[in-house]
Symmetry: none
Subunit: 245 residues, 2 copies
């Protein structure tokens, strides 16, 4: 289950389309429209929505906010400004965590977004159970409608894929084992010893340690250890060739 | 301190303006542009940026990505697609936490955003130390440039409000700048070319890219780059001595 996003009296078709697209970027497809200014359907919305056209086709279009949220159990109002209404204010992150909790307990959730120019009016906000406020730079607080939808949708999706924040590697990469790195380090040490790099003798242990320390900090794949062995072999081969010449 | 956002070969002025505005929504104002398609300044960018016009006026405009990141110590590449380059992939959240830690330890951070149509190319990604990938619905993965900027900037700002732990570096360790790593990479490439390592010719570009990609993953101190230059010089000297013998 997922929350439904309710655009209240949206003005520009382009913004409705961009909002649908932003929702679908993050796997959300329950769109409701309250009295869109230019009527419905809207060709500009469809043009902008591109791959998210289905959301527009399936959108519930109603006359009043009350109808749009009638069968939901918990309603968030998005607003940038602080109003003279006493209301819990959630960050997008906390609001989406709360939504997931409530949805999994069988509730239904709506999130209200206001008209482009004015935002939600106090009558709408008063109907909401809580407010979502996106933290922004006070010198530049205006987000447009589809940007606001994008950020809330992103927060929804982000927490769905959590345990989040895994460190991932690109596909096909297989990390080198400690032993493989060790044998690479030994190969370098041996070649550099031959090349007379560890000089003067009283500093050689420290130099070797610095080099080992560096190896240990590199996250190496198996293919890369093989490449680096190849680098060394080629330089040694070249040297021998030179010296025979 | 804050990271700089680098737009690599952006195409539409509108997108540059919208990106500047999205940055400033979240208090970020260090913008760098690499070779914008339609030249600079750009009237469309200014029209869209509205309150964030200052970012455009103060933007550093350069010809190459290497110039844009020359004096930074850690570079993130934003990319949606998985590439055949082994690289740590961060979520936007973890990337911004990591950036805050590194910045507070005196580092400078760049975040690369690719051209609208194609995204960053592999040569750019190979130069980056890590990748940021925004988690999206696989059925609708395309975010536009300014949306991607918006989400990363939002994550930056969000964690500034929460506050984070500081990361301490080892005493006396001073990270190498991108330029220092670049010059080390060039030194290796030159020496390995001399040694005939990049063979056969049709594979040489791929081999060079793999090597560059490896450099970018190593967290190198300045002292270590000097040591590695020394390794190369010593091996070359040894080779010349052998060939004279």
């Amino acid at each position: 289950m997922q929350p439904c996003f309710v655009l209240v009296q949206p003005q520009m078709g382009e913004n409705i389309g961009a909002s649908a697209r932003a929702m679908w970027n993050f796997g959300l497809d329950r769109l409701r429209l309250v009295s869109p200014r230019d009527g419905w359907p809207n060709a500009s919305a469809t043009a902008v929505a591109s791959g998210a056209g289905r959301l527009l086709d399936e959108a519930l279009v109603v006359d009043t906010t009350a109808q749009a949220i009638a069968n939901t159990t918990f309603v968030f109002a998005t607003t940038a400004r602080h109003r003279a209404l006493t209301k819990i204010v959630y960050s997008p992150e906390r609001a989406m965590l709360e939504s997931r909790k409530r949805l999994s307990a069988g509730e239904d959730i709506a999130i209200l977004f206001g008209p482009e120019r004015s935002g939600l009016d106090n009558a709408c906000i008063a109907r909401a159970n809580a407010v979502i406020s996106v933290p922004v730079n006070s010198e530049s607080p205006s987000l447009n409608l589809s940007q606001c939808v994008l950020l809330i949708a992103y927060e929804w999706y982000r927490h769905g894929i959590i345990g989040v924040d895994r460190l991932e590697t690109m596909p096909k990469s297989e990390w080198a084992t400690h032993q493989e790195v060790e044998s690479l380090a030994a190969h370098y040490e041996q070649q550099l010893t031959t090349a007379g790099f560890f000089f003067p003798p009283e500093k050689s242990n420290r130099m070797k340690q610095n080099l080992r320390n560096l190896w240990s900090r590199i996250p190496l794949t198996r293919a890369e250890t093989q490449m680096l062995h190849g680098v060394l072999r080629q330089m040694a081969r070249e040297r021998n060739k030179d010296s025979q010449a």
